[in-house]
């Protein structure tokens, strides 16, 4: 807080703050909060018998049906997103570490390059993986020669879906990791090696704990969109790899089963919320101390 803010006419300053907040917060209230409430009531609507038409009600059975019909889709989404998040962390960490602590004059340019993929179409990039992972492409051929692929192929398997998810959300992992690593005083890491700690011990005892805020933020920003994604499963997976996002999308737009799609959305949000809360508790109490 600035000194001027402390001694200034506090009430007038608060009024300025509320005026600054008003348009943006009102927009979010009307087009984010109210739609969520609207979605909740839609999830309890009752079918009228004709397709796409529902009337208001409190039909909690929608949730039971959603879970019993689509529990596998939920499970798959959480597992795929979990794998993709861990892989993204492993891939992103060295790059973020290098940019934050070693890149010197290349730092600004490397940061631009990390954000640059956002400017190339998400759909086309995912589609490009079809070419890269195709059955007759180098990667598949090589892995097949080494007998490393259980299905003999990558495309249209869960491996392709996880690979696509890992790739697509990687910048969301790199940027928070970079921000956290950038705040570390390099002298702390030097002190570790001065005290004869091995590079690995220094990393485990100094760098990793200090980068924890970035790890938490990055894993959340990767896991959440990955768990709700349906593009990768649709373009790179087979029909057996469909995730909960696919179920929500088809129920809403194709089947026009709005109550079912809404119930699925709420279960997805609730499960993400639970996982996130448990995860932040864990990361906050055990790892940070």
């Amino acid at each position: 807080m600035t000194i001027a803010a402390a001694v200034g006419p506090a009430r007038r300053r608060a009024r300025i703050a509320y005026l600054l907040l008003l348009p943006g917060i009102a927009w979010l209230a009307i087009f984010f909060i109210i739609p969520l409430i609207s979605l909740f009531f839609t999830s309890l609507q009752v079918s009228t018998g004709s397709s796409g038409k529902y009337k208001a009600g409190f039909n909690w059975r929608n949730y039971v049906e959603a879970l019993s019909e689509y529990w596998e889709f939920f499970l798959r989404a959480l597992i795929y997103a979990g794998f993709a998040t861990v892989l993204a962390l492993v891939i992103a960490y060295p790059l973020a570490y290098f940019i934050a602590l070693k890149a010197g004059r290349w730092r600004a340019l490397m940061l631009v390059l990390v954000v640059a993929p956002f400017f190339a179409s998400f759909l086309l990039r995912t589609y490009a993986w079809k070419t890269i992972l195709a059955d007759d492409a180098v990667i598949t051929q090589t892995l097949n020669a080494l007998h490393l692929l259980p299905d003999g192929r990558i495309l249209n398997t869960s491996i392709a879906v996880i690979a696509g998810l890992t790739y697509n959300f990687l910048p969301f992992m790199i940027l928070p990791l970079y921000a956290a690593l950038d705040k570390i005083d390099p002298r702390l890491i030097e002190a570790g090696s001065d005290l004869y700690a091995s590079p690995f011990t220094t990393f485990r005892k100094v760098t990793w704990p200090l980068s924890m805020p970035g790890v938490v933020a990055g894993t959340l920003l990767t896991f959440i969109p990955a768990a709700g994604d349906y593009i990768n499963a649709e373009l790179l997976g087979s029909t057996k790899d469909k995730m909960i996002g696919n179920a929500i999308q088809t129920n809403f737009i194709e089947f026009r089963d709005y109550p079912m799609a809404s119930a699925l959305s709420f279960i997805l949000m609730a499960s993400i919320l639970i996982i996130v809360t448990v995860y932040i508790r864990r990361a906050g109490t055990e790892e940070l101390v």
């Binding site: 509320y18 907040l21 917060i25 340019l109 993929p117 400017f119 759909l123 490009a128």
Partner: protein, 266 residues
Amino acid sequence: MAWLRSKLLGIVAVLVLVYLFVPIAVVAVLSFNNPEGKFNVSWNEFSLSAWGNLCGVAGVCQSFILSIEIALIATLIATVFGTMIALALVRYRFRGRGAANSLIFLPMATPEVVLGASLLALYLNLRLPLGFWTILIAHIMFTISFIVVAVKARLQGMDPRLEEAAQDLYASPWQTFRFVTFPLVLPGILGAALLGFALSFDDFIISNFASGTTVTFPIFIWGAAQRGIPVQVYALATLVFALALVGTVLGQIVSSRRRRKLAASS
């Protein structure tokens, strides 16, 4: 061996950057392809026909221009709203600050399918006609949070003593903002706006819910995927990427030159 070990981290970092660009390179290469069948997925022969006739497929350019229009308007509005929120959150203490912070964070913690589905539920309940306006509303909504986060980071990195100095010299709050805060935060705002533009221009999941029969560029790509995406789409996407990359790199060079000059003169 010692050389390799000392350079290992740098090599891994460069490899990760390369990995980020492999699919983009594939898109760029395929934009010069003359595909054998309908599907532009494997290399056949070199051709400039798509680049020479960018609008050669029905609907491609309409959807491209529509996406640019929506992204420009959405970015402008979201940047103004988002910057105002960031200023309020960083520079002021007031009741409800925690709640405002959570309200900013929540849309980023909500999967896009849920954002899209909930907006469509509202639109349907209100019987709003789907199209340009419903897409625009959605884009402003999901861009605001990202802008707030980006501008907030810039404001927090700013030395508060600069603003205090201006106030000590009897600058009004508006003058302080206009001549001290704003010029210092401007690079952060521009960066945030650029990110907002990219997110809006490229959004498919939310737009697909909010669009009805209106076709944005990503929706065009999705629709074309079943029949084979025209090569023109690859060329347009490559063009956007190249322009953005050249623009940001040039911006970086200019701003680092200016910083060096300032450092040299002071």
